[in-house]
C-alpha cells in the first residue's frame, strides 16, 4: 500500500542562498552540450521507504532519417508520454537508488517537399541503478546531489513510410547497456523552492535489430533468412544520447515538473543510417509515495 507525501515544500528551511555560482557554471556546461535531464529527490528521500513517481506528457519536434526508407530527412511533430519511478535502496548504506523509466512516443514527419509522410513510434523500458556521489565537499555546494550508474534499456518500435513499395517500414528493436548520470540541485528564489535536475544517458554496448543494407522483409520473415539482422552495437555504431532537464516546483498542494528533453537516437549498422532527433517540452505530476508493505516494511 502506498501513501502520498510531499516533502519538497516541507524542506524549504533546508535551502540556503549563495554558492549558486559554481552550480550555475556546472549547469552551463551541461547546457553547452545540450544537456538536459531529470534527477531525483535523492537528498530528502529516506532510504528504501520513499518512492518518487512522475508521469509526464510532452510535445515537440522530431527529425527522422532512415536510409532503409529514404535518403531524406523527415521533420514533424512528436508526442511523448513518460513515467519515472525512483527510490533509494538499502544497498551500500542507502547510497544506491533504483530508477524505472517507461516511455511511449510517436511522431508524424514529412519530407521537405511535403510529398510523403512517415510515422515513427517507439516504446522503451529502462532499469537503472545509481550510486549517490554527494558532491558538496568538492564543489562546496549544499543541496547538490550527483548520481551515476548503469542502466539497461529495451526498446521497440518502427518507422513507416506511406509510399514505399517493398521497403515500406523498418522495425526498431534494441537492448542497450547505458551509462547514466543524474544531477539535482535545490534552491530557493524569493522563498519559493525549486528543484533543478538533469539526467544524461548514453548507450555503451548493446544489440540492435536491423535488416542488411538492402535486405527485404520478405527474405527475413517470408523466407526465414534472419542472418545479419541482430547486430552488436557500441557507442561508435550507436552514438545516442538522452538528456532531460527538469524543474520541479510546488503548485498548490501538488508538485509539478516541467522538462526539456533532447534525445538523439542513432544507429549505424549494415551500411544503413538511422537517426531520430527529438526536442520535447514536457509537463508532469510528481508524487512521493511511502512504501508500507513487502520486504521493505520496517
Amino acid at each position: 500500500m502506498l501513501q502520498s507525501k510531499n516533502n519538497i515544500i516541507n524542506n524549504r528551511k533546508n535551502f540556503r542562498g549563495g554558492e549558486h555560482v559554481n552550480v550555475c557554471l556546472l549547469l552551463m556546461l551541461f547546457w553547452l552540450v545540450h544537456f538536459a535531464g531529470m534527477a531525483q529527490d535523492s537528498i530528502a528521500l529516506k532510504p528504501n521507504k520513499i518512492v518518487e513517481s512522475t508521469f509526464s506528457a510532452g510535445v515537440g519536434s522530431s527529425n527522422v532519417l532512415d536510409t532503409y526508407l529514404s535518403p531524406l530527412k523527415y521533420k514533424g511533430t512528436e508526442l511523448r508520454l513518460q513515467y519515472d519511478r525512483f527510490r533509494l535502496t538499502k544497498m551500500m548504506g542507502g547510497k544506491v537508488g533504483v530508477q524505472y523509466q517507461y516511455s511511449l512516443f510517436a511522431s508524424n514527419v514529412k519530407n521537405d517537399a511535403k510529398t510523403a509522410e512517415e510515422w515513427a513510434g517507439m516504446a522503451y523500458a529502462a532499469l537503472g541503478y545509481f550510486y549517490n556521489a554527494d558532491s558538496r565537499d568538492v564543489f562546496g555546494v549544499k543541496n547538490l546531489s550527483v548520481m551515476y550508474g548503469p542502466q539497461a534499456e529495451f526498446g521497440f518500435g518502427g518507422v513507416y513510410n506511406d509510399r514505399n513499395s517493398n521497403n515500406p517500414a523498418n522495425a526498431k528493436v534494441y537492448l542497450d547497456l547505458k551509462a547514466s548520470t543524474m544531477v539535482k540541485y535545490k534552491l530557493e528564489i524569493l522563498n519559493y523552492p525549486l528543484s533543478l535536475s538533469n539526467q544524461i544517458s548514453v548507450p555503451l554496448v548493446g544489440l540492435a535489430f536491423s535488416p542488411e543494407y538492402q535486405q527485404s522483409y520478405y527474405e527475413i520473415f517470408g523466407l526465414g533468412y534472419y542472418g545479419g539482422v541482430v547486430n552488436p552495437t557500441t557507442f561508435m555504431s550507436r552514438p545516442s544520447l538522452r538528456n532531460q532537464f527538469s524543474v520541479d516546483f510546488p503548485l498548490s498542494n501538488s508538485l509539478i515538473r516541467i522538462s526539456y528533453l533532447f534525445e538523439a537516437d542513432q544507429l549505424k549498422v549494415n551500411n544503413l543510417k538511422f537517426h531520430s532527433y527529438s526536442n520535447i517540452f514536457m509537463i508532469g505530476y510528481v508524487k512521493h509515495l511511502f512504501r508500507l508493505r513487502g520486504k521493505y516494511k520496517n
Binding site: 556546461l29 517537399a113 510523403a116 556521489a133 543510417k273
Partner: protein, 336 residues
C-alpha cells in the same frame, strides 16, 4: 575522483557524433545527382546489364549531366531523368511525379500482345465464377480455365481449394496469366504451391549488402512447399505473354519446375528484381530493382523466361474470335 569521472563522462559526450546522410539541394542538378546516386548505390543489376547490354552507369552520368541546367522546368527535368532511367531497360524502374510516371515498358510494348480481352470474353461468357480475383469456368470440352489477371489481390487458401475442387472433374486445366503484371510474390507462390507434391527448389534470391555494384549477400534458395489443401494432379498449361512481369515472372518460373505443367505462349516480360523505393529532394519518388532473383540453375530471369512451346496469337484467329493459345492448350490437354 568520482566527480572527475562524471565530468569526463560529460566532456566525452561533447564528441557525440551525428549520423547523417549526404543531402542534395533541391535544384535540377541536385535532383539529378541525387537520382544518379540512389541508383548507383542501390540498383541491383548493374553488373548483369553491363555484361548483357553494355550498361556503364558512370558513362550514363556524364551523358545526361550535360543536359541538366538549373533553369530547366520540372517537366524538362523529369524528361531528362526518365531518359536516363530508360537506359536501365527495367520495368521496375519508375519515377513518380505529381504530373506523370516515368516508365520503360519496352519489355512488352515492342512485342506482340498475344492476348485479347475481347476474344477471351467469348471463352469466359457470362457464367464464369470469381474467387478473390480468380475468374474460372469449365470449357465445353471439359477443360478447366483459370484466369489470374493480377497477384495484387489477396488470394486465400480457401479460394484456391474451392477453385481446384470445382475443376476436379476436368481433364486438365489452363492457368492463364497473360497480361498479369505482377503483385505479391507470396500470392503467386501460394498458387504455385497447388501444383507440386514435394518441396521443390525453384530459385534463389539475394540482396545488396553495400553500396558497391557487386556487394551482394550469398544466394538463398527459394522453395515451393506443397499446399496442405487441394492440389492439382492432372496436366496443366500456363499461358504467358510479354506482359507477364515481376511476381508473374516468378510464378511462371515456379510453375515450370512443377510436374505435369507446360508453359505455352510468348517469353515473359521479366522483372526479377524485388523493387524498393527511394526519393529525390523534389519529393519525386523513385522505384528500382533491389533484390535480384534467379532460377533454380542460378541463372538470371530479369529479361524473361522462355516458354516450353512458343505460340503466338494468329490475327486470323483473333478476327474469328478464337484465342490461338487457349486452343493450343486445349489440344495439349486432350480436350479437342
Amino acid at each position: 575522483m568520482k566527480l572527475k569521472s562524471i565530468l569526463i563522462f560529460f566532456v566525452c559526450t561533447l564528441f557525440f557524433s551525428c549520423v547523417e546522410e549526404e543531402q542534395f539541394d533541391n535544384s535540377a542538378k541536385g535532383n539529378f545527382e541525387a537520382l544518379w546516386k540512389v541508383l548507383d548505390e542501390h540498383y541491383c543489376f548493374f553488373d548483369y546489364k553491363k555484361e548483357v547490354i553494355g550498361l556503364d552507369w558512370s558513362e550514363i552520368h556524364d551523358k545526361y549531366a550535360v543536359r541538366i541546367s538549373n533553369n530547366m522546368t520540372n517537366a524538362q527535368l523529369f524528361e531528362v531523368l526518365c531518359d536516363m532511367l530508360s537506359e536501365l531497360q527495367d520495368g521496375h524502374v519508375n519515377l513518380y511525379a505529381a504530373h506523370d510516371v516515368g516508365r520503360n515498358w519496352s519489355w512488352y510494348e515492342n512485342y506482340p500482345a498475344n492476348f485479347s480481352s475481347d476474344v477471351q470474353k467469348k471463352y469466359l461468357g457470362n457464367d464464369y465464377m470469381i474467387a478473390s480475383g480468380i475468374k474460372y469456368k469449365i470449357l465445353d470440352d471439359n477443360i478447366g480455365y483459370i484466369f489470374i489477371e493480377s497477384f495484387s489481390d489477396g488470394i486465400g487458401d480457401g479460394n484456391l481449394s474451392q477453385v481446384l475442387s470445382d475443376l476436379a472433374i476436368c481433364n486438365g486445366v489452363i492457368v492463364d496469366v497473360r497480361d498479369n503484371g505482377g503483385g505479391n510474390i507470396t500470392t503467386s507462390q501460394k498458387v504455385a504451391n497447388r501444383f507440386c507434391n514435394e518441396k521443390k527448389l525453384v530459385g534463389y534470391i539475394c540482396h545488396k549488402t553495400g553500396k558497391g555494384h557487386s556487394d551482394f549477400s550469398e544466394l538463398k534458395p527459394m522453395y515451393l512447399e506443397p499446399s496442405d489443401g487441394v492440389r492439382w494432379q492432372k496436366k496443366a498449361v500456363v499461358l504467358t505473354n510479354r506482359q507477364c512481369y515481376s511476381a508473374t515472372n516468378s510464378f511462371v518460373n515456379e510453375m515450370r519446375y512443377c510436374p505435369n505443367v507446360t508453359i505455352v505462349g510468348d517469353k515473359t516480360g521479366g522483372g526479377s528484381g524485388l523493387p524498393f523505393s527511394s526519393e529525390l529532394p523534389k519529393g519525386w519518388s523513385i522505384r528500382f530493382s533491389a533484390c535480384p532473383m534467379f532460377d533454380a540453375e542460378k541463372k538470371q530471369i530479369e529479361f524473361g523466361i522462355e516458354p516450353d512451346n512458343y505460340v503466338d496469337m494468329r490475327s486470323e484467329d483473333a478476327l474469328r474470335g478464337i484465342d490461338t493459345l487457349i486452343e493450343y492448350a486445349r489440344n495439349m490437354l486432350g480436350g479437342k
